[in-house]
């Protein structure tokens, strides 16, 4: 029997579940696949509808982790297997090497020593980074990472090691296997943006000036690749016209059949970013339904609607073509009200891609998933956040807090 809880995933939901359970007096392990905590929300510039920064709440949760004697966390880690049952799960975790030690908190010297630049996946490839780096501005843990590619033969690892103080970089670190005995498992593995290249008709990857909503978040962020400016990838100019393509992959029987919950609100939020950036920018939002349910979201939508520069067009974009001026694209939609086709040329098109649960692409052995990739709950296996269903941040907080209770109950029950 075990009195501890495993949380798989250290994003917003996982962190919440972990701190809430730990503050109930239980030992908690967090297994996070990235080198940093916070997951998807660390890539967001602001939350809707308050337009407040995600790092504000993360700072509090990181502090709760730092001060809690009951939380152990592993980064660059993945669950390899789950065996036995509720109250007494055995979980094998593989922890990959970071190639640095905890005192390694400043990468400047090591990063200067290497010339190679690699695409920065945190910024969706909008810029590059060195192989020796800090994952993000407010990375927790605040410890540099050396890319495995630098450690393999011919890599820059040795130069980095030589440039850094002795003991900061350790090229001999190996992947470790950790065996955990836990009573309950909370699955908070979150989501990935739906792969925009899968929608041939929307031409992502074909034209430079079609980006995804998550790329907009990175550009809008002061710590992002463009230091807070939303620009066209082709010429780095601020767009004068922007088109948003809603339900890019969602509510679509060829892609995600369900509604991704957040994309309407995210677009309204991003319209605010753009309008704050520019007085003249014209924004065209192509939608099926604007899903801004509830008082707070409806109020937010009403506020955006008041802006005469934001145009709402009811119609699903069916096709994207090259525009007449350099770099621009034309969005072609069926006007579901007026009939006929609507064409709108824009400097920049944004695909409001939906959320796909991590389970649609990567599954944990021993865990059951439904056909969409969402986790199916089971005795002692408790999904929460976007691993359970597509939801926003505030609902994830509820879901994760509820999951913490379910985990505690599993332990209470078994303890008799």
């Amino acid at each position: 029997m075990s009195g501890s809880i495993l949380v798989v995933g250290g994003g917003f939901s996982g962190l919440t579940a972990a701190v809430e359970a730990a503050e109930m007096g239980y030992d908690v392990y967090i297994v996070e696949k990235e080198s940093y905590m916070g997951g998807r929300v660390t890539q967001l510039n602001k939350y809707f509808p308050k337009l407040c920064p995600p790092t504000c709440g993360l700072e509090i949760n990181y502090k709760r982790i730092k001060t809690s004697p009951r939380i152990t966390f592993y980064n660059l880690a993945e669950v390899e297997s789950v065996s036995r049952g509720p109250g007494d799960f055995n979980v094998q975790v593989k922890v990959n090497p970071r190639y640095t030690t905890p005192q390694c908190t400043s990468c400047a010297a090591g990063a200067e020593a290497v010339a190679t630049e690699i695409p920065n996946e945190f910024n969706f490839g909008l810029n590059t980074r060195k192989s020796f780096y800090m994952p993000n501005m407010m990375a927790f843990p605040n410890q540099c990472v050396l890319d495995p590619s630098a450690v393999s033969s011919g890599g820059d690892g040795q130069q980095v090691k030589d440039a850094m103080p002795a003991g900061h970089v350790d090229l001999d670190q190996k992947a470790e296997s950790v065996s955990l005995n836990v009573g309950a498992i909370i699955i908070a593995t979150g989501w990935n943006p739906y792969d925009a290249t899968k929608m041939d008709n929307l031409c992502f990857g074909k034209y430079d000036n079609i980006v995804t909503n998550m790329m907009i978040e990175r550009m809008a962020s002061a710590s992002g690749p463009t230091e807070g400016k939303i620009v066209r990838p082709s010429d780095k100019e601020e767009p004068k016209t922007v088109g948003f393509v809603q339900c890019a992959g969602s509510r679509d029987e060829n892609h995600l059949k369900y509604c991704s919950y957040i994309c309407c609100m995210a677009t309204l939020k991003q319209a605010c970013y753009l309008r704050e950036q520019s007085e003249d920018v014209e924004i065209y939002i192509f939608y099926i339904d604007i899903r801004s349910p509830g008082l707070k979201y409806e109020n937010f939508y009403s506020k955006v609607k008041e802006d005469k520069k934001v145009h709402f067009i009811k119609g699903k974009v069916a096709e994207v073509k090259e525009g007449s001026s350099p770099g621009s694209v034309v969005l072609v939609a069926e006007d579901t009200i007026g009939g006929g086709k609507v064409e709108q040329e824009v400097d920049l098109a944004v695909l409001a891609t939906g959320m796909q649960p991590t389970g649609a692409t990567t599954q944990i052995p021993g865990i059951e998933y439904n056909s969409d990739g969402f986790v199916v709950p089971n005795d002692g296996i408790i999904p929460c956040g976007c691993a359970k269903r597509p939801i926003d941040v505030v609902s994830s907080a509820q879901s994760a807090t509820a999951a913490a209770l379910k985990a505690v109950q599993t332990l209470v029950r078994r303890a008799g």
Partner: protein, 772 residues
């Protein structure tokens, strides 16, 4: 007890190159420290071993680490029972103030930066010397039972969840029966995938399980008269629904009621008289009901009421016509049997479900609508098809179908029914068609422009109004009054305002769930009930361990009042964002530690400076300010004091430093729990010690406030306006004190804010009191 302080200076990360370390050691030695050491890799195991050796062999019992920002945690430098204070030489000094050796002012700049480092060391040393060990607040008896207000789906679920976690509860329901709105449904939307077919209401099963459980006491036809005392030991007076009780919670006088007709504040005696008149027949809020039920924490699950359109509302939709009804009225009819028309009892064959009342002018849903109201229309369309499978016609007329997330599957499932017509459209008019039914005019539809429908019945998808909209419900016997404060910001919902922390209400130990918190479905309400239950149990755990609840969960200390000097000014009781303070007859504050969230707003409010924490006090911060060296004869070396909110502005400074952004080296930064905790005495200390300006960096306030203690930065701005006024009367320019709002991600703005203010200070010139 005096401490033996060891100071350890980190010389890595370029600190040794930027600063004269020998001089720093000299400064520290000058402070009387015997143990002052440097290490190029202080945060490594070797560095930690050096500190550990001094603790073991030299009797060091307080450690100052001068190097990396205090925000970064190094486990190996945590020592049990040893106070560790961290001075940020890397982020706040060297990274943020690089000196280019080729610059013609390089020497002067270097001197500024060196002085900056020296001051941070002085401040850290005095802080550690003045801090006292923290002792947890221990409560002798903590009641583990949960009070649950509301016996609908949310409350029933909460009671079952608490029981499953081993806790007893009292479930209080106003009505004679359990079940709430959930018991008035014919059928309901599923509470989990596949979301295809309607299911029987889950509520009966919940009721059966609650009645079968031995941990739940059900009290129907019962209301909360008042809840007194504090988390861990709430005293709950119950009463029969609708009855009057001497234990009904009294209402404090409103601001307007405290004034006389000419707008002058009434005397204390008159106020008391007026208060007694207002609350005639009710016991004082501090009085204890000996027959009250005792509970440790509260879950507010009082739910919602249907939005009742006013008589003259929605005239264009023929509201007032008996065949135009709300979704709740329709549900009632459907629950009773076949759907019939209210006007004549005829079986209904066709219904228009209207989602949005604004016609072509506004596409918003009805007030207080949510995902639930969209789903209800779809569900009710299905009812009609159940009753009239042959020729029933349901028209769902919407501007935006809001079946978010997986509820989309439910919507998709309906689209194959030939008797259900779903269309976007502007419902411009509903009118009597002269033959007992209604004509519904809809413009801009998807099924062919403007249409006109003849139907038997029209149903308005009106929303769910939270019960807290115009009733305190919890009826707290608190100094600040019976309800939650400022709920009008959230349309009356008992919401927290924090996206990341939705359960953190402004009344510790009371957690809202379900329809009272926001519009939600039954599925969401059940999950929400579990979340709120966790928070309620966790609060009891925190009280048991003697620390605060969110956001300062790790904090074991609590404010200490030196009552001998209290002047009963009531600022602390009025300004506490969490209503933690009550008062006695004379107005002396009474702290309820388990309600307290340790923000220090009371400390900041107190003009007598009698409220302090062991590790955060008027004296500690005042001494830090006084430890700053202020040259009194150098016009280039003005000094700016900055108080920075430790959760937002301070991390932003760290990030600015990491980015290599720079600000004036003349500024000295002190992190504070919240700007609400900044006492004006500190501003006066700064000015009287010759500093030239004070800047407060706090969170955004207003309707979308970001302050985790709700009012900190807002209060601070008011207080600073007052202090500036009183400084002006002493001949110090009011412009020397300023407050700025910054969010944690606005690190790129902070240097500008500091530098511009510094320029303003230079314009003003040195503090006229300098050198006195």
């Amino acid at each position: 007890m005096s401490k033996k302080v060891g100071l350890y200076i980190y010389t890595g990360d370029g600190i040794a190159e930027a600063l004269d370390i020998d001089k720093l050691v000299e400064v520290a030695t000058g402070l009387g420290l015997e143990i002052v050491r440097t290490h190029a890799d202080l945060y490594s195991p070797e560095g930690a071993a050096m500190v550990k050796q001094d603790i073991d062999n030299e009797g060091v019992d307080a450690v100052v680490l001068a190097g990396i920002s205090p925000r970064y945690e190094f486990e190996i430098l945590d020592f049990p029972d040893i106070i560790v204070e961290k001075a940020s030489l890397r982020e706040l000094v060297t990274w943020s103030h690089p000196v280019n050796a080729d610059d013609e002012n390089a020497d002067a700049q270097k001197e500024h930066v060196q002085e900056l480092a020296e001051d941070y060391i002085r401040m850290a040393v005095v802080k550690v010397q003045k801090s006292e060990p923290v002792e947890p607040f221990k409560t002798e008896e903590i009641n583990q039972r949960i009070l649950i207000i509301g016996g609908g789906v949310t409350g029933l679920t909460a009671a079952l969840e608490a029981a499953e976690a081993g806790h007893e509860s009292i479930l209080v329901e106003r009505q004679a029966e359990l079940g709430g709105w959930g018991a008035k449904l014919r059928k309901q939307v599923p509470v989990g995938p596949e979301y295809s077919e309607l299911i029987n209401p889950v509520v009966q099963d919940l009721i059966d399980r609650v009645n079968a459980g031995d941990k739940i006491t059900v009290k129907t036809n019962t209301e909360v008269a008042r809840i007194g005392n504090a988390p861990g030991d709430f005293r709950v007076s119950l009463k029969e629904t609708g009855s009057k009780s001497e234990w009904d919670a009294p209402f404090p006088l409103t601001d307007a009621e405290m004034l006389d007709e000419s707008g002058k504040e009434l005397s204390a005696e008159d106020q008391k008289k007026k208060y007694e008149e207002k609350n005639e027949g009710r016991k004082d809020y501090m009085e204890e009901d000996s027959s009250a039920e005792v509970c440790g924490a509260v879950i507010l699950a009082s739910g919602w009421k249907p939005y009742e359109p006013a008589e003259d509302e929605f005239k264009h939709l023929a509201w007032g016509n008996p065949n135009v009804i709300t979704n709740c009225q329709f549900e009632e009819i459907a629950k009773n049997g076949k759907i019939v028309r209210p006007s004549d009892g005829k079986e209904v064959k066709s219904v228009a479900f209207i989602q949005s009342p604004g016609g072509s002018k506004d596409d918003a849903d009805f007030p207080y609508a949510s995902v639930a109201t969209s789903l209800v229309s779809l569900k009710q369309a299905k009812y009609l098809r159940e009753d009239q499978p042959e020729d029933g016609k349901a028209y769902v007329l919407y501007e935006h179908m809001r079946t978010s997330g997986q509820y989309e599957y439910f919507y998709q499932g309906l689209q194959n029914d030939p008797g259900i017509f779903l269309t976007k459209g502007d419902v411009t008019e509903v009118k009597d068609n002269g033959s007992g039914g209604l004509t519904v005019n809809v413009d801009n539809t998807l099924i062919g422009g403007d249409i006109s429908l003849d139907v038997d019945l029209a149903v308005l998808a009106t929303g769910m109004v939270p019960t807290t909209k115009d009733d305190p419900v919890v009826n707290l016997a608190y100094r600040q009054g019976p309800g939650f404060r400022d709920l009008d910001l959230f349309g009356g919902y008992c919401d927290s305002n924090f996206i990341c922390f939705p359960y953190e209400t402004r009344r510790t130990g009371i957690y809202a769930a379900g329809g009272v918190r926001r519009g939600m479905t039954i599925e969401e309400a059940m999950e929400d009930a579990a979340g709120a239950t966790l928070k309620a149990l966790q609060c009891l755990k925190a009280i048991d361990e003697g620390h605060s609840v969110h956001p300062r969960t790790w904090d074991f200390d609590y404010p200490d009042f030196y009552f001998q000097r209290c002047t009963q000014c009531k600022r602390c009781t009025e300004e506490c964002p969490f209503g933690a303070l009550d008062d006695d007859e004379k107005g002396t504050p009474k702290l309820n530690p388990s309600r307290c969230r340790r923000c220090g707003t009371c400390m900041g409010a107190c003009p007598e400076r009698i409220i302090n924490f062991k590790d955060y006090s008027i004296d500690i911060v005042g001494s830090m300010i006084k430890s700053i060296e202020v040259p009194d004869d150098d016009e280039d070396k003005l000094r700016l004091l900055i108080f920075a909110c430790e959760n937002d502005a301070y991390p932003a400074l760290d990030m600015a430093a990491r980015k290599g952004l720079s600000w004036s080296p003349l500024a000295r930064i002190i992190p504070v729990r919240c700007l609400g905790s900044v006492n004006v005495a500190w501003i006066k200390d700064a000015m009287s010690s010759g500093m030239d300006g004070a800047l407060l960096l706090g969170c955004k306030f207003g309707d979308d406030y970001q302050c985790h203690f709700v009012k900190g930065s807002e209060l601070s701005e008011k207080r600073m306006a007052n202090v500036a006024e009183s400084l002006a009367s002493l001949g110090i320019e009011a412009e020397r004190v300023k407050m700025a709002q910054v969010a944690i991600d606005e690190y790129d703005q902070i240097p500008k804010i500091i530098n511009e203010f510094m320029d303003e200070i230079f314009e003003l010139g040195p503090n006229p009191f300098k050198g006195f």
